[in-house]
Symmetry: C2
Subunit: 405 residues, 2 copies
Amino acid sequence: MSRIVMKFGGTSVADLERIKIVAQRVKKEADAGNQVSVFVSAMAGTTDQLVRWVEEISPLHDAREYDTVVSAGEQITAGLLALTLQDMGIPARSWLGWQIPFKTNQVHSAARIEEIGTDEIIKRMEEGIVCVMAGFQGISADNRITTLGRGGTDTSAVALAAAINADRCDIYTDVDGVYTSDPRIVKQARKLDKITYEEMLEMASLGAKVLQTRSVAMAMNHKVRVQVLSSFTDKPGTMVVDEDEIVEKQVVSGIAYAKNEAQITIVGVVNEPGIASNIFLLLADGNINVDMIIQNETEDGRKTDLTFTVTDVDLDKTTSILKGANDIQFDSLLTDINVVKISVIGVGMRSHAGVAATMFKTLAEKGINIQVISTSEIKISVLINSEYTELAVRALHTAYGLDAE
Amino acid sequence: MSRIVMKFGGTSVADLERIKIVAQRVKKEADAGNQVSVFVSAMAGTTDQLVRWVEEISPLHDAREYDTVVSAGEQITAGLLALTLQDMGIPARSWLGWQIPFKTNQVHSAARIEEIGTDEIIKRMEEGIVCVMAGFQGISADNRITTLGRGGTDTSAVALAAAINADRCDIYTDVDGVYTSDPRIVKQARKLDKITYEEMLEMASLGAKVLQTRSVAMAMNHKVRVQVLSSFTDKPGTMVVDEDEIVEKQVVSGIAYAKNEAQITIVGVVNEPGIASNIFLLLADGNINVDMIIQNETEDGRKTDLTFTVTDVDLDKTTSILKGANDIQFDSLLTDINVVKISVIGVGMRSHAGVAATMFKTLAEKGINIQVISTSEIKISVLINSEYTELAVRALHTAYGLDAE
C-alpha cells in the first residue's frame, strides 16, 4: 500500500472522454490498494477563456477578482472527475482550495502556500475515498480565493504530497517523461528513467515545459519523489529524485534550448563603479528579468560594452527604459533577437573536468560562433545565432554520448 | 438613501457587453447614494452546459458534486461584474455563497436557506462598496457548496433583501414587468404597475416565468417589496407588494395559461372508500405532481371515473404506474395532451360574486367546452382543448375589462 498524489493537466481533462481515461488511471491505483489523492487543472482552454474575459474588462484588474473568476475552471473539473469516479464505482469526492483548506498568503494570482489542512484528506484516504482536489487555488487569511499562478496545479500536487508524506507524486501530462533533449529536434533523444531535482530544475527553467519550476524546487526541498508521465500511454515515466538515488551519474543528462531570448549590448558605457548596478536596478524596477550578463572592457579602459539577455517579449520595454534613463551614458544600443540559448545540464559535471571544453570544441567544429557564455555548478549555457539551433543541439547530444543506440 | 438588492438573470449577463450594461444600472443606483447589493446568475447557457456535462457523466449523479460543478457559473459572473464596476470607478467586490455565508440545509440542488451572515455585507454597503454576490448557491453545515435549484438566484436576492431589511429588491429580467396576460397572445395586454404577492404567486406557478415561485412566497412572508423590470429598457417595472398597498383592487388582475398539462381519466374505477387516496399516494411515491382533480360518479354508483392532470412530461410515467398497480382495478385509461389550463387570477374576486359565472359564460359564447374546473380563493382555472388557447385568453381578457384603451 502506497500513498499517492496524482496530478492531471488541462489537456488530460480537456473533455468528458479524457476525464474518463483519467478516471481509469485513478481507478487502477485505487484498485491496487493505494491511498489516492488527485489534483486536476481546468479543462484545456477554459482558463484562457476566463483570463481573456478578465483582461478584456480591465487590463489592470483587481487580482482578487481575477482569482475568483479563473479558479472556477478547476472547480468544474474536480466535480466532474469525482462524478466520473463515482459512476465507475469508486468512492470519491471533490474538495476546492478553500475546503481543504489550502492556506496561502494574500499575493493574489501568485500566492505562496503557507499551510495545508491535511487531517480530513488523510482520514478520507484512509477510509478508501479518492480525494479529488481543484488545483492551482487556495484561500487567504481574509477568506478570499487565491491562485498560485499559471501551471500552479503542479505546485498544488507536490505541496500536498509533501504535507501528507506521500510515497509518490505522479504528474500526468501530454509527454511521457523527461528526455535527454527535445525529441522533435533530436531523433536519438532518450527518455530518462531518473533525473535529479537539480537537473530538472535547470531543465524546467530552460524551457522544458514538463514541470512548473516552482513545483520542482518544492519537491527538492521536501524530497518528494515526483514522476512525470503521460496520461495518453501506459509507459513508465521519468522519476525526479534525489541525487543519492542515482547510482551511475551521467556527466551530462540533457541538452536544453530556449528560443525566446533577446540579446542587448550597451556599447560604450562610461566605465565607473556602480554603473552595472545602476543599469540592472533600473531594469529590475521595470520588472525586466535579466538572464545572461557579460561585460567587456574596451581598449582604453574608460568605456565598456555590457551585453545581457532578456526574454524577447521584454526587448522593446528594455530598450525604451535604457534610452529614457538620464543618468546612464552610452554610445549606442545593439539588439539581436535571432539568438538561442543552448544549455548542457548534468550533476556529474561537478566532478568532471572538460565538460565546457567539449561543448566549445563541438560548436567550433560546426563553425558556430558563441556570443555569450554563462555557467552554474551543473549547467553550461551559451548564446548562439538561432539558425544553428538544431545543428548545435544534435551535435552536443552526440558529443556527450546521449544518443540512443 | 435606500438599501437596494438588485438581481440580474442569465440573459442580462450573457456576455461582457451586457455585463457592462448591468454595471451601468448598478452605477446609477450607487451614484444616487443608495446602498447596493447585487446578485447575478450564470451567463446564459453556462448552467445548461455544466448540467449537460454532469448528466452525461452520470444520470444518477451525486447532488453534492453537481452543486460544486454548476455553482461555478455564478462565481465567474460575480467576479466579472465586480471587475467591470471597479473599472468604472465604483468600489465593488464579489462574494460567493460560502463567503457571505449563505447557510443552507444539506438538501443539495434544492437547498433551503437557514441563515444568512449579513454583518460583513451591511458593513461594506455602509462603506459605499457595491456587494456583488453569486446567486443560487450556499454552503451547508458540512462545508460543502449547495444550490437552491434552477432559478434560485431570485430566491437568493429576496432572502438577502429580507435579511438586511432592504427597501426594495429589483429583479431584472428580459421582460419589463408583469402583464395582465401574455403580450404575445393578447395585443391589448397591459403592464401592471402593482400586483399583490398572492396574485404573483398564482401567476408564477401558472407558468408566467418572470419570478421563481419560491422567491415570491418568501417575499410574501417577509414583506419584501419586489420590483420586476427589464435590464434592456429604462421603463419602470411592476411592483409586487402587499394587498394593503393597492388601493383600488382589480377584481381580476390577469389571465394566465399553462400548455404543459396532460389530462388522464381512469374510467370505471371500483368506487370504494380510500380508492382515490390509494391512487394519488401511488403517484406521489412515483414523484408525480398531480394538479387538477375531479371525480364523477357513474350511473349505478358502483364505479366511478377519476380525471386529473399532470405535467405532460410525466404522462407516460403516470400511465405505466397505473397500469402496473395490482390493487387498483379500472376499465380503461383515457389520456389527452391537447389541453391547456386557463386561469383567471385576482385578489378582488374574494369579495366579488359572479367572477366564475363570467368565465364560464364567456367560454360558452365562444363554443369552448370546459373539461375540468378547479378554484382557489383568488383563482379559477379551467382545462380546455389547447386549440382554443388564444381565443379563450383574448376573450377572457376583454370580458374582465383588462384590455388597454
